[in-house]
Amino acid sequence: MVDALKPPKRKDPLRYTRLPLAPPGARSRAALRFTARAAEGRLMLQQCEACGAFAYPPRDICGGCWSDELRWRDIPPEGKLLAETTLHASTNVYFRERLPWRIGSVKLAAGPVVLAHLHGDVREGDDVRIIARTDKSGQGVLMALPAKETENMSDDKALRALTCDPKFRRVLVTDVRTPLGQAVVRAALTAGASKVFLGVAREWTPFAGREALYALENTEVTPLDVTDGTSVSEAASSIGGKVDILINTAQYARPGTAMARRDVVTARDEMEVNFFGAMRLLQAFGPAMRGRGADGENSAVAWVNLLSVYALSNWPAYGVNAATQAAAHSLSQSARADFAGSGVKVVNVFHGPLDDEEHQPLPPPKVTPMALASGIMTALKEGVEQSFVGDIARDIAERWREDPGLLERELTLTKNLE
């Protein structure tokens, strides 16, 4: 059994802050595809279309029959740990400061033998469950977990290096005026966050749920208006060095295409929140988080963007809003580059229309704030960088993966919309 994680001690501000280091991040193009799927938490290997053999490490030609028809397929996560070793020396500085480090050879049920990081509760000869995740370099790696849940399982140091578990971490929820923001606060506390900063715009005006929210333990009200650069800077100078997970819940959504509106005023409001708001947060909070990617047990670990799934492909009912979401999505991709190598993951949680007043006329299914909040926590605990919450988001994601061009026609040629 892994020792339970202890609450980190209050940090002496004069102490040296360990610089974020990363495991080796060089990969072939074929291996980058493994990374792309691992970022979604999917365990995939190449399978030869011609002979059916699974290949590992990723390659360009099948080692069995020389076919180049290698397709990435989800594989069952089962395997057996054939041999293990505990490293006491490493040529890489990231691992050097984390020694001893355990790795092992795992025979996958799908066939190949892989090297994998080992959870503290797995032993040589054990059946294991294999996961694929991105490591601190942002690249995909494999890890062997116990086949069944064990006590304190998520506290394992090698696993915690791959996840963004909120346990004992400090979370900033950028906008708690909405039911969504408040649901995220509660979910973060339930997930074990040691503190949640409550970002409140226009703090002097009341909002529904305020009293109950402010009464929660381990929370701290932080004036924060993402549409106001000064407010964002001030919040960052006050708490920026303590934010381990930032969840940007600020959203602004109105229906309509460009031609359904008469001017750009509403679009500007949407951009102010959805795009410039995210950008202001990145500029004010990003650098400090990037510098704290290896700051002990409660290192900075995740930057969470909540994005409409229609950021991937426009839905005319909320056509202009989807365009601002697409802009925010693109910004999140450039933020990946900003955070690369820092150990802070950019986590994009895509969702369908929320069950809130902004989407009041829409029929179900809609995502409840609680469902989305819980989806965010799951993504953080699992350490995935991309997640789709709710039936609509998953449906759109699947269609988008299958054929983005087809999805675009499906969504925009309204005759197809029954």
Binding site: S28, A83, S90, T91
Partner: protein, 395 residues
């Protein structure tokens, strides 16, 4: 395709002029210097000049961005036969067999075979970081333990499979240290006891400090030519009875526990015309002792899984009944990059020509040499072996 009886021998071809450029733990000198000095020493020993050396075979990890091609201009050579062999620990035997074929065929008169590597303070790490695509994609990100990690898993698996103990591996390392104490170029100069061996710090369990080689700078070389040329130059020589080479053997073994030797050993000994019993000394590739055991087994000195019993029952020192890695091997001499793949071969030629720099194996007539190289992802891919016979006596 199965019948290999048509394989031609290496009649009339000899290997001679074994040279070593003394190893240094760290040196600012580049690979070009080490290889160039080996070439110079080969020339001094053989009295051959650049114009006489019409073949060159090079192995090195640290020549980048150069290859053997650039060295021809750097060294003022105009060879008609040029080879670059990136096979790490198998480089020596492979260089020998290729050069011997070319000399036998008359494509070239004299081939200088040289392996050398630099070892700057950062060389080892740099070599590991970009060793191979599969290693980069699927091995290095897992703790960056390098070959220590790969061999730890192989060693663990081998120990589990055959009931081998650390002490069994220790016998190999301790005996090699005895051999090294009389070898002037060995970097390890202190005796090693079994207690020292067992008490060493863990590097990648079950691999401990004295199971690992010390990376260093150095070079090794030899000449391949026709026998009449060697005689004319007054160079003592050895003949080649047999060679073998195999890559990526047994790819479906989940963890490597045998090498390509096992696939080809019958043909190998048949070509040599002698059995393993006839061998007076055996030079294995010893980056880790587990691979020594695999070579002993897979080349037929004992059955599979019996190497531990073999090393328990035999004395592996120069004066023992199974002289093994008679100069101390890489474990005690040091691993000068690709030159580590030459060390055993160069030592075997010295022993067979009575030119041992350290202790001499008495009446050394027949030597077996084997090589193993290139951990790609999880296992070593290149295997090679040769049987050499002293040029004197019945020659």
């Amino acid at each position: 395709m199965g019948n290999r009886a048509h394989r031609k021998g290496y009649d009339g071809v000899v290997v001679t002029a074994p040279v070593t450029i003394p190893y240094e733990r760290y040196s600012p000198k580049p690979a070009h210097w080490w290889i160039g000095r080996a070439l110079k020493t080969l020339s001094t020993r053989s009295k051959l000049e650049a114009k006489d050396i019409d073949g060159l075979s090079v192995s090195s990890f640290t020549l980048f961005p150069d290859t053997a091609v650039a060295l021809t201009q750097h060294f003022g050579l105009s060879p008609r036969w040029l080879d670059h062999i990136p096979m790490g620990g198998a480089s020596g035997v492979v260089a020998l067999r290729r050069a011997a074929r070319a000399v036998a065929a008359g494509d070239v008169e004299v081939v200088a075979c040289v392996a050398g590597d630099a070892n700057h303070v950062n060389s080892f790490r740099n070599t590991l970081t970009a060793f191979s695509r599969f290693s980069q994609d699927a091995s290095y990100p897992y703790g960056s333990g390098g070959p220590n990690a790969s061999f730890a898993l192989m060693t663990r698996n081998y120990m589990n499979a055959y009931g081998v103990t650390r002490e069994d591996f220790g016998r190999i390392c301790v005996a090699q240290r005895v051999n090294a104490l009389s070898f002037p170029h060995a970097l390890m100069k202190k005796p090693l006891s079994m207690t020292d061996y067992l008490g060493a710090r863990a590097v990648a369990d079950p691999v401990h400090l004295f199971d690992c080689v010390m990376p260093c700078a150095g070079a090794e070389g030899f000449l391949v030519m026709r026998e009449e040329n060697a005689r004319a130059l007054g160079l003592p020589f050895a003949r080649i009875l047999s060679t073998t080479e195999r890559h990526n053997a047994f790819p479906d073994d989940p963890i490597q526990y045998r090498g390509g030797w096992a696939l080809d050993k019958d043909e190998f000994w048949a070509m040599a015309g002698v059995s393993p019993d006839a061998v007076d000394l055996f030079e294995t590739y010893d980056d880790y002792p587990v691979i020594v055991m695999m070579q002993i087994e897979d080349l037929g000195f004992c059955g599979k899984g019996e190497a531990a019993e073999f090393v328990r029952s035999r004395a592996l020192t120069v004066d023992g009944d199974f002289p093994h890695n008679t100069s101390g091997g890489q474990l005690s001499v040091g691993q000068a990059g690709a030159a580590g793949g030459y060390l055993g071969l160069v030592e075997a030629v010295r022993q067979l020509t009575g030119e041992a720099l350290g202790a001499q194996v008495e009446n050394a007539k027949i030597a077996a040499v084997s090589g193993f190289g290139m951990i790609n992802f999880d296992r070593g891919l290149c295997t090679a072996a040769a049987v050499l016979v002293s040029g004197g006596g019945d020659g």
